[in-house]
Amino acid sequence: MAELKTELTLRGLSKHYGSTLAVDAVDLSIGRGEFVTLLGPSGSGKTTLLMMIAGFVEPSEGEILLDGRPITPLPPERREFGMVFQGYALFPHLSVADNVAFALKVRGIARDEIERRVAEAVALVKLGGLERRLPRELSGGQQQRVALARALVFRPHLLLLDEPLSALDKKLRGELQVELKSLHQRVGLTFIYVTHDQEEALSMSDRVAILHRGKVVQIGSPDELYERPATRFVADFLGRSNFIRGRVVEANGGAFRYTAGGEHFVQADAAAPQQASDVLIALRPEKIQIAADRSPETANTLSGRIERWSYHGTNFQMTVATEVLGPLQVQVPAWRCRFEPKDGLAVRLGWDADASIRVGDDEA
């Protein structure tokens, strides 16, 4: 069989519960060996989408194709997808080894083959020596690894992960993100990962699909999504952002000028918008330059007063009240801040024409 580049394809996949649309006509192609994250707030439909891929939820409309074959009518046990559940769902009455062996036992595989592959999977997630323990005798991180080994041991087509790190504390979460990423590289399997945690999504994924109200709003690599959010929702959900509402006054090759709050600003944009149209500009707090004594040498400048500020070790976060644009969030690396932040201090703000980006307004 020819090596297919695309492994899993979702075509117009929808799910309604009564009159509510949990997933709304999602089209998605996932390549072989890719790490794709479905990211969205709770209620965005990401878990329903994953459950449809896994076969636990029947789609109302649409199709799921694996290597070009439709698998929509197949029950979960015939899809051969590994799954790591939220809270792990380890079998409490079975030891670590028996949990991992489960998928092999129900397939009627020979005993010595089972032993060999369980040992292999246990070693893969570094759980050697804990085979005889029961799940309740393990820490959260260890349980998570058992769930991974259990889902990988039968060599599934792909691995589905439903918020696998959400039950762990922050530090452990960070460590396991690194481990998951390296596990993904070692096994070379397609991972489909569901989370509401943007940091997890950005640090691990090859591509992230952002879900909002049952739709995929944008899909792309983490830096693409962060640097070039398509809509206000994406800019706001991935990191933080200031939003400036303006009206285009003049557009020419690669940039346009707009007014907001009575002042003119410049925005770089390959596809210049219509004259006199309304635009929404997203401006990340860390892309604003701030100085106390002089104006930053940037295309756009503005003056304001520090309303609130807080120190976060690596950076200062400030809210600067401006007459023109209202309050703006600003973030400055602590080592580069040349002045002592004080409430009420007069400051100058500035940003380059390509530091901000025009986004679609989907929050209206």
């Binding site: 896994a54 076969g55 636990f56 029950p75 979960p76 046990e77 051969e80 997808f81 590994g82 799954m83 559940f85 939220q86 809270g87 769902a89 380890l90 079998f91 409490p92 009455h93 489960f102 998928a103 036992k105 129900v106 397939r107 259990r150 889902a151 039968f154």
Partner: protein
């Protein structure tokens, strides 16, 4: 006189003098007195009679090896065991359905399960009598359908007793089984399916083992109830099949053999206590009866 003296002269509140625990003891004191005088005292009377009548000694217990007593013990054990097995199988199915139904359907089904509990056991035994006797509803129906020529013997035998007892015991099996099944995480079954198990495999390898404490708890409970059951066997057995409770009643009320009756009662109690002790080692009682 100093101010502290005046304060000390006030009566201290009750709970200060008794301690918090003491107050609760006070609450249950009437019940304890009632139990002591009307339950434990007569109970010791029974124990005493079993070694004192008709003459002091263990003579009554020697009768345990007599053919009549042995037959009663065996019959009791057999009927109780069959009743327990049938009740658990039927009750398991009902509890399983209850757990998986919509809340609305579940409420109606619970009503169906609990309703018989509010009807006198005597009324239910006589109801079975009208259903099961030779000219009863069941036999007439089967004959009308041409399935049988002669009426089936559905009562005055162990079958009739077992039918009536299973009916009585079902709620006592369903409730602990249901409580246990409610505690089984539905995601475990989904996980099993996701790992390639069919519905049947997921049930056999995950659900059934996890419901085992419920089965053991409900089983011992029903078995213990069955051992000392009186009304249903007396009516549906029609004096031909004797279980231990009815045997005791006959010894004491009809034959006035107090010593033998008391001995059998003591044996029954010892059996029940032994079973309870065994059960306590396997399952958490407080959990089984929903005290958590």
């Amino acid at each position: 006189m100093s101010r502290t003296g005046a304060v000390a002269a006030l009566p201290r509140p009750l709970h200060r003098r008794l301690g918090t625990l003491g107050v609760y003891w006070l609450f249950i004191l009437p019940a304890v007195l009632l139990l002591a005088s009307f339950y434990f005292y007569p109970l010791f009377g029974v124990l005493w009679v079993s070694v004192a009548e008709p003459k002091p000694g263990l003579g009554n217990y020697a009768l345990l090896s007599s053919a009549a007593v042995e037959r009663v013990l065996l019959t009791t054990a057999r009927i109780s065991a069959v009743t327990t097995a049938v009740t658990i199988v039927l009750g398991y199915a009902v509890a399983y359905a209850l757990v998986h139904l919509s809340p609305r359907a579940r409420r109606w089904m619970f009503l169906g399960v609990l309703l018989p509990l509010w009807i006198s056991v005597l009324a239910r035994a006589f109801a079975w009598l009208t259903l099961l006797r030779s000219e009863g509803v069941v036999n007439q129906l089967l004959q009308a359908l041409g399935l049988i020529q002669e009426p089936l013997h559905l009562m005055w035998n162990e079958l009739g007793i077992t039918i009536g007892m299973v009916h009585y015991m079902l709620p006592y099996a369903i409730l602990p089984l249901y409580a246990n099944m409610r505690g089984i995480d539905a995601r475990l079954l989904a996980a099993a399916r996701g790992l390639g198990a069919t519905r049947l495999q997921a049930f056999a390898r995950v659900f059934l083992p996890l419901s085992l404490p419920g089965i053991v708890g409900a089983g011992v409970l029903v078995f213990i109830f069955s051992l000392g059951f009186f009304v249903t066997p007396a009516i549906l057995g029609g004096n031909r099949i004797l279980m231990i409770a009815q045997y005791i009643s006959i010894q004491i009320l009809d034959l006035v053999r107090w010593g033998l009756g008391a001995m059998m009662a003591t044996v029954l109690m010892a059996a029940v206590l032994t079973l309870m002790a065994l059960l306590a080692r396997i399952v958490d009682f407080r959990r089984l009866f929903g005290a958590h």
